[in-house]
């Protein structure tokens, strides 16, 4: 399970090294958009539908500041998957990927470039990944990730008013680990290895580069001590 979120995190960090010139151009353009973000806050509404995790829709406020400060604030009990909500575009640059432009595809009447990502290191735990990119606006629209054991993660991105920073208005993640075999030594109580599920995160009320004080990122409990 942990590797899922690590993998998702990697997904957001693979938009970097490219050997294919065309792929490199697209990825560099995306990266330059992301680099514009110094800090942001947003309200999120998240719905998680897993076989093993059932919860009502939750609302929270998220804060991000370069290089890697992240804070989730919610009055209500909120459980959000790591590596999805707190992905840090600045963590990019794991240089162990090769990217290659393999063609175009038409989705929702939009012509998207398909970039194949090939991991160079054994430590990277996915077999293959594809980025579907809107090359006109330089926005990632879809990530398709194949993992061991016929596991698959498909992430869909929608954008609204923060296209210039490549910040999504909605992320939908579809995880299918139903074919994965349970490994006894990794078994966690209440969290199975094989499951199916969806995560949907809606972002609104973005405040980008408006400045966020460092005190926001201090844990209240730590501050009390």
């Amino acid at each position: 399970m942990k590797k899922i979120f690590v993998t998702i995190l990697i997904l957001f960090t693979i938009t970097n090294f490219a050997q294919d010139k065309n792929a490199e151009k697209i990825i560099s353009a995306i990266k330059s958009k992301i680099d514009k973000v110094d800090n942001y806050s947003a309200n999120v509404e998240i719905s998680v539908k897993f076989d093993f995790l059932k919860m009502p829709k939750s609302k929270a406020e998220i804060f991000f500041k370069k290089p890697d400060k992240f804070k989730l604030h919610s009055e209500k009990l909120t459980i959000l998957p790591k590596g999805v909500i707190d992905f840090n575009p600045q963590k990019i640059i794991d240089k162990d990927f090769t990217s290659e432009l393999i063609g175009d595809t038409l989705i929702d009447n939009k012509n998207l470039s398909v970039i194949k990502i090939i991991p160079n290191a054994d430590s990277i735990k996915f077999n293959a990944a594809k980025l579907l990119v809107d090359k006109n606006e330089f926005l990632i629209k879809q990530i398709i990730l194949s993992l061991d054991g016929n596991a698959k993660i498909i992430t869909y991105f929608n954008y609204n008013d923060q296209k210039e920073f490549a910040l999504p208005s909605q992320i939908k993640i579809n995880l299918d680990f139903s074919q994965v075999e349970e490994s006894e030594n990794k078994r966690r109580r209440n969290i199975p290895e094989n499951f199916k599920g969806d995560i949907t995160i809606n972002y609104n009320n973005y405040k980008v580069n408006k400045g966020i004080d460092d005190s926001v990122f201090v844990d209240e409990k730590e501050a009390e001590k």
């Binding site: 399970m1 942990k2 979120f5 897993f50 076989d51 093993f52 995790l53 059932k54 919860m55 009502p56 929270a60 989730l72 604030h73 919610s74 009055e75 209500k76 009990l77 909120t78 459980i79 959000l80 998957p81 790591k82 909500i85 707190d86 966690r188 109580r189 209440n190 969290i191 199975p192």
Partner: protein, 278 residues
Amino acid sequence: MIKLVHIELIKIFKKWRSYIGHFGILFMVSMVQINLYIYGENEVRHITRNLSDLFIISGNILNGNLIGHLILNAFFILFPLTIVLVAGEILAGEGTGGTYRLIITRPVSRLQIIVSKFFAGCIYILSIIVWMIFVSLVVSHIVFGNGELIVLSDGINIFAQDDILWRFALSYLHVFFSMLLVFTLSFLFSSLVENAIGPIIATMAILIFFVILSQIPVDFTKYIKPYLFTNYFMDWQKFFNYDFDWFVQIKSLGYLALHSVIFLILTSIIFIRKDILS
């Protein structure tokens, strides 16, 4: 009938042993609440141990709803013990006190006496449950506040604040029916003897025996398990699951109620035929 029930209630609540359950619940629950008030962080860490490296968790986990649920889980086992202390004596006590002839020679039928004792017992069970709700839920809400409830069973279920109280209400209703069964079983034994110790021990022995029987890891237990009423006692927990089956839960309640009715009928027959002349 109301007067008869009132008399029976006076008999129950005049005995100090009837309050053992209430004091026991108050003591145990207070210990848990004080411990959680001081070391609540550890409990939260324990609950979220499996989750914290995969999920970002924000908000108030340690709240009145969680504590109410934890306490009901932990101290459910106390309920039968508190019930049998009263139910075991409700008829046998008349024998011990030598008041059988006195009550039976009054111008009320034996059935009325049994029914009034039964209703008095129901009110006693309610008093235990209401007390438990007060000290575990109400007090916990006052001390720890309200909040969403996280339940770790069959996966992870998180319930919104407005989706919790009805689940507690149904859970306690189920607990009531479970305890009613315990009461009627003890009541039945109480009608057979003239000493309260026997029914108390016999009821607890049967409960423990049935629980052990259903836990023995051999094939035949899965065939007999559905017929053991103790198997349905913990079904209240299913109300804290998004996917609980209403039909299964109603069946569980019906099964418990049916047992109670059967035990009550048997008690009535035994008591109506009871020889008080020799």
